[in-house]
């Protein structure tokens, strides 16, 4: 069936700094609530962009809009220079990969087959697919349980398998919604190192994070969202100021430079 239609063409390789996705004055409604109220962000190749902000600020909604999941009520979302609505599903699948907040599976596929699903948009040879799948599983440290059914895994293991599937898709724009939420310390670091690796290889990575320390350490740029708007956008050293974070999170915080690296450390002010 597929071969009868015209094959979607993969995008040309992006140069560092190319804009792979952007929003302009984006407004998104979910039901009656306006979740995004005029958001401008730019996602560039070679860069890890962290979306941070309090619960309900619109981080996942912005990610959904960049993924072309959610329609814009006003404003525009452009993916690879074209409005998000101008792409077909197979074309988008070659351009962006999305890690959902929680990974579910209706049937107990083994881990390796789940990761292989990430190859669906491509027409590579089985051998090439095997290589990409094995590489993605090794990078996320899930090779050891490749043959186990997905439903028998723990939450953290599932999250890594889902990430492996997203990596296997080999899309130049990676959109990750809280990839570290279910992970232990070691694997949180692993996942963000992977984000940096992808960015170094020329991909654009957008990652929703709650841990400001992780965002400060790994993201090239941080967009701080507050009530559907971007409160600040820039390197973490500029965005993470005590006054701004305290106001946005409605919680007094202290920002200290890390004694060794100098990266900002954000700590809630505790008077115990």
């Amino acid at each position: 069936m597929r071969t009868l239609r015209t094959r979607p063409v993969p995008p040309p390789p992006a140069r560092p700094g190319d804009v792979l996705a952007e929003t302009e004055a984006l407004r998104v409604r979910l039901g009656a609530r306006e979740v995004l109220a005029g958001v401008d962000v730019t996602v560039r190749a070679g860069e890890v962009l962290a979306l941070v902000g309090p619960n309900g600020a619109g981080k996942s909604t912005l990610l959904g809009a960049l993924a072309a999941d959610l329609p814009a009520a006003r404003g525009v979302v452009r993916i690879f220079g074209r409005p998000a609505t101008g792409w077909t599903a197979p074309e988008l699948a070659l351009r962006r990969a999305v890690l959902p907040q929680s990974a579910t599976l209706s049937f107990p596929f083994p881990v390796e087959e789940v990761v292989r699903m990430g190859r669906a948009p491509h027409t590579a040879s089985p051998d090439e697919d095997d290589g990409v799948v094995a590489e993605a599983m090794a990078a996320t440290e899930v090779t050891a349980f490749a043959a186990r059914p997905f439903s028998a895994l723990s939450g953290g293991e599932r999250a890594r398998v889902a990430l492996a599937r997203v990596l296997a898709q080999r899309a130049p724009l990676l959109l990750l919604d809280e990839p570290t939420a279910a992970l232990d310390l070691k694997h949180q670091e692993l996942v963000l190192r992977l984000c940096r690796d992808r960015a170094r290889a020329g991909d654009a990575v957008v990652v929703v994070l709650h841990d400001l320390g992780l965002a400060a350490a790994y993201a090239h740029r941080v967009a701080l969202l507050c009530a559907g708007r971007v409160a600040a956008d820039g390197p973490s050293g500029e965005v993470f100021s005590e006054a701004l974070l305290s106001r946005v999170y409605d919680q007094p915080v202290e920002v200290l430079p890390h004694p060794r690296t100098g990266a900002p450390l954000v700590i809630p002010r505790r008077d115990l």
Partner: protein, 364 residues
């Protein structure tokens, strides 16, 4: 979401290194086994019955008819074989394949291992259309009248159940089952109403048909359902890969390039075609669409590339065997086929419930 089996294949767990490799052979073995089983059972089923025909005579008569030697039979056994047994066998194969395949597709579309034409009420919906056609004596489409009515009513029911049981891109088991109960009750009431208005000849025809049976099989009936069944069975395997991706959920499937809306519409049409084909000739035959895909998923994993065609093969085999039992166990009397499949299928359903409870605390 609900995942049925925690551990579908134990051997795969014992050998982690060649991931999945070991299991890749299983579907081929099973396919071969199923085809051999069908090839063996068809001549046996053709020979057994109130008027036994030796299996050798059956084969020789088939060879004679297709012009490869063999020998013609006497008039009576020839008529028994070609006018009674063979249409019935072909019908059993078509109905069984349709039900098995429809079950596998429906579970894939709903992402829910309990979806089955009988359980969620699509069979009774199709039955309403068929009963209406019989009760009011409609015949403007010739032999295709009953299948056409069954298709339209079945299609309406699938769409209704889909719209009612889904929210936010997923189907909860409880909602699905409750929707099925409501649809079954309403369809039962409509059938009762049509029975009330029908004349006594139509009533006996409907009552017998409702129990599920293939005893009225004739070649014209085979021809009447053949287009529906063949079209549905031919289209279904084309969507296997996309059904696999749909197991991730609607949005992730879309992220991987699946046009989910179109996939859903096409598959709902295919399910309605297959269910209508089965119901319009054989009445409501439950549990085949539930049991068959479950068995295969346990044996060969949940991949739809094998599951969809495999369910059609095993469905055909199961229904052929069940029909053979239905007409020989209590000979010369004949058990209703639907009663027989329910007798065997319900305990399996029980076992499935207990197994799932033990492993993951039931379906949430």
């Amino acid at each position: 979401m609900t995942a049925l089996d925690d551990k579908p294949v134990r051997s795969a767990q014992a050998s982690p290194a060649p991931a999945g490799r070991k299991r890749r052979g299983t579907p081929w073995l099973l396919t071969g086994g199923l085809v051999l089983g069908l090839l063996a059972l068809v001549p046996v089923a053709a020979g057994l019955g109130a008027y036994p025909v030796p299996t050798g005579d059956v084969l020789s008569s088939v060879l004679h008819r297709i012009g490869l030697g063999g020998a013609a039979l006497d008039r009576v056994p020839d008529s028994v074989l070609w006018n009674v047994r063979f249409p019935r066998i072909v019908l059993a194969l078509l109905v069984g394949a349709s039900l098995g395949c429809a079950g596998a597709l429906m579970q894939g579309v709903f992402g829910n291992p309990l979806a089955e034409p009988g359980v969620i009420g699509v069979s009774s919906g199709a039955a309403v259309g068929a009963v209406a056609a019989i009760a009011f004596g409609f015949g403007f489409l010739g032999t295709w009248t009953v299948p056409a009515f069954a298709f339209v009513a079945g299609l309406g029911t699938v769409l209704l159940v889909y719209a009612m049981a889904r929210s936010g891109g997923r189907t909860e088991v409880v909602t699905l089952i409750l929707t099925g109960i409501a649809v079954n009750a309403f369809a039962g009431a409509l059938i009762g109403l049509f029975l009330f208005f029908a004349d006594s000849a139509a009533v006996s025809q409907i009552t017998f048909w409702q129990l599920g049976s293939l005893s009225q099989a004739t070649w014209p009936k085979v021809l009447a359902v053949l287009p529906c069944a063949v079209l549905g069975l031919a289209l279904a395997p084309l969507y296997s890969r996309r059904l696999d991706l749909l197991a991730l959920g609607e949005r992730p499937a879309r992220h991987l390039g699946v046009d989910v809306e179109r996939l859903r519409i096409v598959l709902v049409l295919v399910i309605a075609l297959l269910t209508a084909a089965a119901v319009s000739v054989a009445g409501i035959i439950g549990f085949v669409g539930l049991v068959v895909p479950h068995l295969l998923r346990m044996l060969a994993g949940p991949g739809h590339r094998f599951l969809v065609p495999g369910s059609a093969l095993l469905g055909a085999l199961v229904l052929l065997g069940a029909d053979l039992a239905a007409r020989t166990v209590a000979a010369p009397a004949e058990l209703p086929l639907g009663v027989l499949t329910a007798l065997v299928g319900s305990p399996f359903f029980f076992w499935l419930l207990r197994r799932t409870r033990r492993r993951q605390g039931g379906w949430a």
